[in-house]
């Protein structure tokens, strides 16, 4: 599978619909402090099935929903889509025959999260498995949040063993 695009709306500071193309090789994301770069990283982890609000730097999971600014009111819904190209047919069994896969997560205040794969409602666990079977996921070693690069080095030896399981 190839990741091709991230789409967000109402997610943290991205209140307007935003598309982030994910092309071949190296895509750089730049900008001043506080403009929303790490929010993009979190959107990727969130749609992959992250369950801990702390990983989203919030108190509760609803902290990912646009909270408003001095000039704009808060929103009630946040939605993120991750688009995958499966032309090679290498996706896990559940979606093996679909040329394009659209995985989305939507949260509404007071209602919790709803995941969909190509429009079909899906359980969080199945979405997490879909990514795990593609050697990735919200807690993958290859997803390194800001300030966390040293975490592997500072972790205890038994915590580090998990990376071997990921590599297996």
């Amino acid at each position: 599978v190839q990741f091709t695009k991230l789409k967000l709306v109402g997610f943290k500071s991205f209140v307007e619909p935003t598309e982030v193309p994910i092309g071949d090789g190296l895509t750089g994301i730049v900008g001043p402090n506080g403009c929303g770069k790490s929010n993009i990283v979190e959107a990727v982890r969130w749609v992959m099935g992250e369950t801990s609000p702390k990983q989203m730097r919030g108190g509760g999971m609803e902290d990912v929903i646009f909270a408003g600014t001095e000039a704009r009111p808060a929103r009630n819904v946040a939605e993120v889509h991750l688009l995958l190209d499966n032309a090679a047919g290498t996706a896990p069994a559940a979606v093996a025959n679909e040329p394009e896969i659209d995985i989305s997560r939507r949260i509404e205040r007071g209602m919790g999260s709803l995941y969909r794969v190509n429009g079909r409602e899906t359980r969080a666990r199945d979405v997490q498995t879909l990514f795990a079977d593609s050697a990735t996921g919200a807690r993958s070693t290859a997803m390194v949040s800001q300030g966390r690069v040293g975490a592997l080095v500072n972790a205890k030896p038994d915590e580090r063993r998990m990376i071997l399981e990921e590599a297996a």
């Binding site: 598309e19 982030v20 730049v30 506080g34 990283v41 690069v149 080095v153 590599a167």
Partner: protein, 167 residues
Amino acid sequence: GRERLLASFAVVDKHFQELFTRLFGGGSAHLKLIDSDDPLEAGLEIMASPPGKKLTTLSLLSGGEQALTALSLIFAVFLTNPAPICVLDEVDAPLDDANVDRFCTLLEEIAASTRTRFLIVTHHRMTMARMHRLFGVTMPERGISQLVSVDLGRAEELAGVAQAQAA
């Protein structure tokens, strides 16, 4: 179970040794299973010595050395079982220019040899210059993020002065 883990340990360790020496421009490092004979219970220890230095406990390594050691391990796991996407958020912040250069060279090689796609958040001009494409995130309206495709000149501006405009 055990065989799989041991096999994966051997491959990750081999990659780790190679990548450490490349990122540090010398020195040596390796992984070790400790605390138990059973790989399913054991801990993973990292033994690292930067060029010319004695093998030292990890905590004595400098901020930049720890980041490079961690990146060697991340990429070692990665090369063992390549993920379709890798996202790095300012991992080059503690690095000096020479290490940023080696880090970028390694990124370019991994990107060329695998189908993996990278999203790399950075403030370093040298890293920006090595990207295949650049997106800038700005807040033309305070508190509201917007994404724009940019060239290197504009990217350098964004990383630096956009905030000053908001002042």
